[in-house]
Amino acid sequence: MNASVTVNSAEASANTNGASLLQVSDLHTSFSVQAGEVKAVRGVSFSLDQGKTLGVVGESGSGKTVLARSIMRLNLGDNVNTSGSAVFEGKELLASTMSEMQTLWGNEVAMVFQDPMTSLNPLVKVGRQVTEHVRHHLGASKAEAKALAIDLLKEVRIPEPESRLNAYPHELSGGMRQRICIAIALACEPTLLFADEPTTALDVTVQHQILNLLNREQQERHMAMILITHDLGVVAGRTDEIMVMYAGNVVEQAPTAALFADMQHPYTEALLRSIPRTTQRSHTRLAAIAGRPPDLIDPPSGCAFSPRCPYVQPKCREETPPLQATDNSGHKSACWFPVGTPENKEAFEKNLAARLPQTMSVAEGAMVNTEMLQEKVATQEERN
């Protein structure tokens, strides 16, 4: 891998004093392509403690996968530029050589990918895939590796583990394959696990089981986990902290309960509002987010969400809001007019008066739903 990596050494040395397992500061990753420079991650900082779970949420193209792969140093190719710092257990990952990374991969940091079919080798039996790196890293003998593989498959709740060792991936269902991928990731007892959309390809019932499995393993092993997903429903109730990404930036970061109780960024609010819920009446008008995510070759000036934001003001288009703490609970957001403040309400009314399309659609959506609700209440009363 010839990717260029620039390390901010001053920050890197400062971070080694911190007690965090992983400390990422001002991470940037971009890809040079013919049309220009695709700025996929634009200055992300966060820290993660041992045994904690961080959820990273955002739409496709928000940079969440690139962020994980940058920290893991898995972005291959000579057109990748990474800068900033990612310190793991006191070690600067971005300055590590590939052979140093090889001793970490699977051993200290591991990853579970989205598609369990393509992340397994179709020509190799499951048993060998589960223990390949155990033999490599820990120097286990064949017999030891086999015993360990059986234990692991039992642990990820695969029935009849002895016979499954001789199965090929295509002989297993999607959920079973993802369990195998998790077993592989856990084999060397890593201290940090990245789970990149681990359940997106699976059915709801299987998704539920796999998330429970990841949660249990994470707690039993006191492992840190970064759970990447586009679904706020997946991270609610399963993470300690959530980081919402948009166009390569973190727009809001907070302890899970605080984030859902008090959303501050309009993007987080919009994301939550656009999800249909089983608790809503049928035919509830969904609040879709107008427009599309921005072009990352030439991102908009100011706040990247401003072209789609119902509260947008001239200031938003000119100045980029910093990610800053709003109280001392660790809740941070990057918005000039955070949701729930009087300034935000004022901005909304101003935009409504100016008939801004995205503001109108939010207001209309709310109106349609209230009307529907009133109609339903009325018909119910009539019946009674």
Partner: protein
Amino acid sequence: MAGSGKAHLRPEGDALVSVEDLVVEYPVAGGNTVKAVSGISFDIKRGETLGLVGESGCGKSTTGRALIQLPSPTSGAVRYNLVDLTKLSAEAMRRRRTDLQMIFQDPISSLNPRREVGEIVAEPLSVWGPKNKEKQKVLVDEMLNAVGIDPDVARNKRPHEFSGGQCQRISIARSLVLEPEVLICDEPVSALDVSVQAQILNLLEDLKKKYNLTLIFIAHDLAVVKNISDRVAVMYLGKICEVAGSDELYENPAHPYTQLLLDSSPEPDPTVVLDRSDTSSGELPSPINPPSGCRFRTRCPLADDICSSQEPQMQEVGQNHFVACHHPLIKVAEAPAADPAWTEA
């Protein structure tokens, strides 16, 4: 679940589409048969949206395809406007398909990458509509506008220049350009981001009103199905477990499988208490050799002897709410006259 029976069918004549005892089986290597759909019945009124929900492999897509005879079902009847489509000749069916159109899960691969958007949307017209290019262009432009795509920008572009959500809009335009009566949507939003998913769901609701469509909406996401459907049928391993109005179904699930699906559905609310069990017993049995009696019994917490020996029949448990289960989670309010399966349970 996994029961048979037709108690949930409404009087003939009310339904635009009605399916009775639909069976779809595929031969596989070793002389076995995959029983993809095993005798299901349902009906859809004009202007109604029926949601078909279930896990992968439950036969919901197969059912959708069998409706338009792609391929024809192994047995059973599919009546559209009282005409049995399974009895039509290939040519008569080809003519009839203009009334029944379909949109698919992957919006990008369902559009030909080498054709321009204008041609893609005009193709159904070249077969069945006006052959005059000018007239076609008017219809195509109108339809692209209806799905929220600017025809002047899009007409001469190819699918790769659009995002997934836009490609799905183009697919919808293509399926509606012949003004069909019935639109079968096979997982139309599962490949899309949540924000785009909301746009497409709203669009389908709008188009349904505008063009008086009858929708069959196939999906695995319960929240999505609830949002768009008037009536929902829950499928499991080629059978229907439960049929009810969508609000009723989610408020009072009667089938243990519906309950399982609801419990697994992730709610974006951290205060919801999660069931933390992670056993892998939740695997779908093989459709080559499905369990006897109730097909859900191998995963059902309430299963007992009767479930393995006797297949449950559809019975009414509430107003317009039907379930095929020996041990429904809600008891029959006004007990319907002795149903043998029920009295034994």
